[in-house]
C-alpha cells in the first residue's frame, strides 16, 4: 500500500459534519421551550428524554391534577415540539424522533381515555406506497411525524392498488392523500388515482413522494403536490389545514418547505 502517513487530508476533503456539529446539549435548547408548570414540565421531559417506561406513570400522576387536554397539548405535545427543534438543530436524529413519538403516543393514549368522545385531531391523512412498490420506509417515517404533529393517519401499507386507494378516500374523506414510490414505473399509479378522485369530485391534495418522484412529476397532474423528505409532510399538512388548496401549495411550496 502506498504510504499515506503525513498526507494532509484537509487538501483532499472537508468533514463538514465534524466541523459544523452542534455542541449544544438537549437541555440547553429545551430549557427555553419547556412549560413552567412543574407537572406539565415533567410530562414534556418524559417525551423529550424518551422515557418509554416512565411516561405512563408520569401521565397518570398528572391526570390527578390537570385536565387531559392540558396534559396532551401543553405537556406531551410540547415535549415533542422540543424533539422536533433538536432534530432541526442536528442534536437529535431519526431514532430519537421515533422513540419520542412512541413515548408521546403512550401518554396520549392514557390521557385520551379521559376525554369524552375522544380527542379531536387536526385532520385525517390517508397514506400508501404505490402498487408494485415494496419500499415504504419513507412513508412510515412520515406517518410517525404526522401523528406526532397531531394528525390522524390511515396507513394503507405498501403495494396498494389504485382502486383500494380510491375506495379508502371515498370512505374516509381525508384532508390529504399521500403516495410514495421508489420506481418510476410504479409512480404512474398516482396520476391514475388522482384522476379518478378528481372525477369523483374530490379536491384534496394528493402528495407524491419517494425516491423516484420529483417535483415536476408530482405537479404534472391535477391534485398533485410534492414532498421531498418525510419531515416536510407536517408543515405542508398544516398549510392544508390553514385552507391552502393544491394549487396554492404548489405556488408557495418553496416558502412552506423553507419554513
Amino acid at each position: 500500500m502506498i504510504d499515506y502517513k503525513g498526507v494532509d487530508f484537509a487538501k483532499i476533503l472537508k468533514r463538514y459534519d465534524v466541523e459544523a456539529q452542534n455542541e449544544d446539549s438537549p437541555e440547553t435548547i429545551a430549557k427555553k421551550m419547556l412549560p413552567a408548570d412543574p407537572v406539565l414540565k415533567k410530562v414534556a421531559e418524559a417525551v423529550l428524554y424518551m422515557k418509554l417506561k416512565e411516561v405512563g406513570p408520569i401521565t397518570a400522576d398528572a391526570l390527578k391534577t390537570h385536565k387531559p387536554l392540558d396534559i396532551i397539548n401543553n405537556g406531551l405535545v410540547v415535549g415533542m415540539e422540543c424533539v422536533a427543534k433538536l432534530y432541526a438543530a442536528h442534536i437529535y436524529y431519526l431514532p430519537e424522533i421515533m422513540m419520542a413519538a412512541k413515548t408521546m403516543e403512550i401518554g396520549i393514549a392514557l390521557a385520551e381515555k379521559q376525554i369524552a368522545g375522544g380527542r379531536q385531531t387536526k385532520g385525517l391523512v390517508v397514506m400508501h406506497a404505490a402498487e408494485g412498490d415494496p419500499h415504504d420506509i419513507g412513508k412510515n417515517i412520515a406517518a410517525v411525524m404526522l401523528r406526532s404533529s397531531g394528525y390522524s393517519v390511515i396507513d394503507m401499507g405498501k403495494d396498494v392498488a389504485v382502486t383500494d386507494v380510491v375506495a379508502k378516500v371515498e370512505e374516509t374523506k381525508p384532508m390529504l392523500v399521500t403516495g410514495t414510490a421508489l420506481m418510476t414505473t410504479t409512480m404512474t399509479a398516482f396520476p391514475r388515482a388522482a384522476e379518478i378522485l378528481r372525477k369523483d369530485g374530490f379536491n384534496m391534495p394528493f402528495m407524491a413522494a419517494g425516491g423516484a418522484v420529483n417535483r415536476d412529476f408530482a405537479e404534472s397532474f391535477d391534485l398533485g403536490i410534492y414532498s421531498e423528505k418525510a419531515p416536510q409532510t407536517p408543515p405542508i399538512a398544516d398549510k392544508i389545514l390553514a385552507g391552502y388548496d393544491w394549487k396554492r401549495i404548489r405556488e408557495e411550496w418553496d416558502d412552506i418547505i423553507g419554513a
Binding site: H90, Y93, P95, P134, I137, T185
Partner: protein
C-alpha cells in the same frame, strides 16, 4: 445447501486489485469478468409509461436503450460492455419480460458479430415478496409473490439472460425497524441471521434454475438493508441515521450477501452491494461495484474508494431520457467507460496497485462507511467472518463488532474523525454487540422475545423457523 466459507481466498489484503479475481467468470458474447480487465456495466430504467404494454416495453429496452448503449460503446472504442436490466415490477408477468430478455440477447449477438464487441446482459429479477403475505412458496399470500420470484428466474434464464441476479428482501421488515430506531441488534437478527437464512432458501433454487439453463448465477446485495441505512445516513448535511451505524450494518450485510456464492453462484455480485470488497476478499469471486460514476442514482461518500477492487464498474441506474451529449444511457456509459479505461491502462502498465491505493486513500477518511470498506479493513472484516464461518449469527456479530472496533480504533488514533454523536453510537454498538450471547439458540430466543411484538409482520415461518 450452502457450503460456508471458513478461509480467505486471498492470502492478504494487498493481493486484491481491480480487474482480477481468483475465480474469473466467462459468459455472454466474449465477456470475461475478473480475468485481467475491468468491464463497464450500464444499468437503466425505462421511461414512465413504457410499462403499459409488452411491445412498448420491448421497444424501450431493446430498440432504444440497448441499441444506444452498444452504439456508444462502439463509437468510443470500448472493448467490453455489460448491460444490466433491473426488471420493473410489471415484468413479473412473462408476457412483459420475455420479449425484453429475448430482444436484448439478439441485439447483443448482432453487435458482437458485427463489431466484435464483447457484451452480455445481466437480468436482475424483482423480489416483491412481502413479510405479511409470506416469503416462502405455499404460504398462501394473495399475490403469490414467492412463486412469482422463482417463475421470473426461470423466464430470465430460459429466454437468454447471461447472468441472473436479484436484490432479495429477506430480513427487510426487521432492517427497516432497526434503521429507523438505531437498533443494531435488530439489524443483526433481521439481516445477519434471518436474511442469511432467506438467502440460502432463495439462492439454492436460483443456482439450480441457472445451471439448468446454462446461465450464470451472479449474486445478490443487501440493498434493502445496508443501502437503506447508508442513504438515510446520507451526506454531511443529513441528520437521519448515524454513519457509524450505517457502516456497521454494511459489515453485517456482507455475510448475508456472501450466502449466494456459498450456494453455488459464481459472481459477479450486484453493483449496489457496497459490501463487495469484503465478499471478494473471502470468496475470490468477481464483484460489481459503483461509486463516482453512479452520481445519476447515488451520491455516497466513497465514490473513488469503491473502484479499488471492482471487476465490473457500474452507474447503478439511470432513467432513459435525452441529454445534450446523447441519451442518458450513452452519456453515463461514456463516464463509466473512460473510468474503466483508466483502470485498464493502470493494469496494462503495471500500475494497478498504485491506482487502487489512490482510489482508496482519497476516500479513506471521508466517513466511517468508506473507512471500513478500504481494502485492508474489508479484509479484516472478512477474516472475522470466516473465523466464525459456519454460523450466520456468530459471523454477522463478528463482522459488526470488527467494523465497529476498526472505526473506534481509527478514531482513537486520530486517523478518522467522528462527530460526538457518531462516536456515541459506535461505542453503544460495541457495548450492545458484546453483550449478546455466544450461543445462537440463546440469541434467537432473546431476539424473538424482544422483537416479536415490536415489529409489524414479524413471522418466523417466513424463514422456515
Amino acid at each position: 445447501m450452502a457450503t460456508k466459507y471458513t478461509k480467505m481466498a486471498y492470502a492478504n489484503a494487498d493481493e486484491m486489485v481491480f480487474g482480477t479475481a481468483k475465480q474469473p467468470v466467462s459468459y455472454g458474447f466474449g465477456i470475461k469478468v475478473g480475468a485481467g480487465r475491468v468491464i463497464p456495466e450500464l444499468n437503466y430504467g425505462p421511461r414512465p409509461g413504457s410499462e403499459k404494454d409488452p411491445a412498448r416495453l420491448r421497444k424501450e429496452y431493446v430498440d432504444y436503450i440497448s441499441k444506444d448503449v452498444l452504439n456508444r460503446a462502439v463509437t468510443l472504442g470500448f472493448p467490453d460492455v455489460q448491460l444490466e436490466t433491473e426488471w420493473i415490477s410489471q415484468m413479473g408477468n412473462p408476457k412483459m419480460s420475455t420479449p425484453v430478455v429475448e430482444g436484448q440477447k439478439e441485439i447483443c449477438e448482432k453487435y458482437h458479430e458485427e463489431y466484435g464487441i464483447n457484451c452480455a446482459v445481466r437480468h436482475t429479477i424483482p423480489d416483491q415478496r412481502e413479510a405479511e403475505e409470506g416469503l416462502r412458496t405455499g404460504m398462501g399470500g394473495s399475490h403469490g409473490y414467492p412463486e412469482a420470484l422463482f417463475r421470473a428466474a426461470e423466464v430470465a434464464c430460459e429466454n437468454g439472460a447471461d447472468v441472473l441476479s436479484c436484490e432479495t428482501m429477506g430480513g427487510k421488515e426487521l432492517a427497516d425497524y432497526a434503521t429507523t430506531n438505531g437498533d443494531i441488534v435488530a439489524f443483526l437478527f433481521g439481516v445477519g441471521y434471518l436474511g442469511a437464512i432467506d438467502m440460502e432458501y432463495v439462492w439454492s433454487e436460483f443456482v439450480d434454475i441457472a445451471k439448468k439453463n446454462k446461465c450464470i448465477a451472479g449474486g445478490d446485495t443487501n440493498c434493502s438493508g445496508a443501502n437503506t441505512s447508508m442513504f438515510m445516513a446520507g451526506g454531511f448535511l443529513d441528520n437521519d441515521v448515524q454513519r457509524t451505524y450505517s457502516a456497521v450494518t454494511r459489515a453485517i450485510a456482507s455475510q448475508r450477501t456472501l450466502v449466494a456464492w456459498e450456494c453455488g453462484a459464481s459472481g459477479p455480485d450486484k453493483d449496489c452491494g457496497y459490501e463487495g470488497p469484503i465478499c471478494k476478499a473471502i470468496a475470490g469471486k468477481p464483484c460489481a461495484q459503483e461509486g463516482k460514476n453512479c452520481q445519476c442514482a447515488h451520491a455516497d461518500l466513497q465514490g473513488n474508494l469503491m473502484a479499488q477492487v471492482c471487476d465490473l464498474w457500474s452507474n447503478e441506474s439511470v432513467e432513459y431520457h435525452p441529454e445534450f451529449g446523447g441519451s442518458s444511457v450513452q452519456c453515463w456509459l461514456g463516464s463509466l467507460g473512460y473510468e474503466v479505461s483508466l483502470m485498464n491502462t493502470a493494469i496494462a502498465t503495471g500500475n494497478e496497485k498504485i491506482l487502487r491505493d489512490l482510489y482508496m486513500i482519497s476516500d479513506r477518511v471521508r466517513g466511517p462507511e468508506g473507512h471500513i470498506l478500504a481494502y485492508d479493513n474489508a479484509y479484516k472484516i472478512g477474516q472475522a467472518i470466516v473465523e466464525n464461518g459456519k454460523d450466520y449469527y456468530l459471523r454477522g456479530k463478528a463482522a459488526g463488532l470488527t467494523a465497529a472496533k476498526i472505526i473506534k480504533s481509527s478514531y482513537d488514533s486520530k486517523e478518522l474523525a467522528l462527530t460526538n454523536k457518531q462516536l456515541d453510537v459506535v461505542n453503544n454498538i460495541i457495548k450492545d454487540l458484546e453483550a449478546l450471547p455466544d450461543d445462537t439458540d440463546k440469541f434467537v430466543e432473546y431476539a424473538v422475545k424482544k422483537y416479536k411484538d415490536a415489529i409489524p409482520n414479524f413471522n418466523l415461518k417466513n424463514y422456515g423457523l
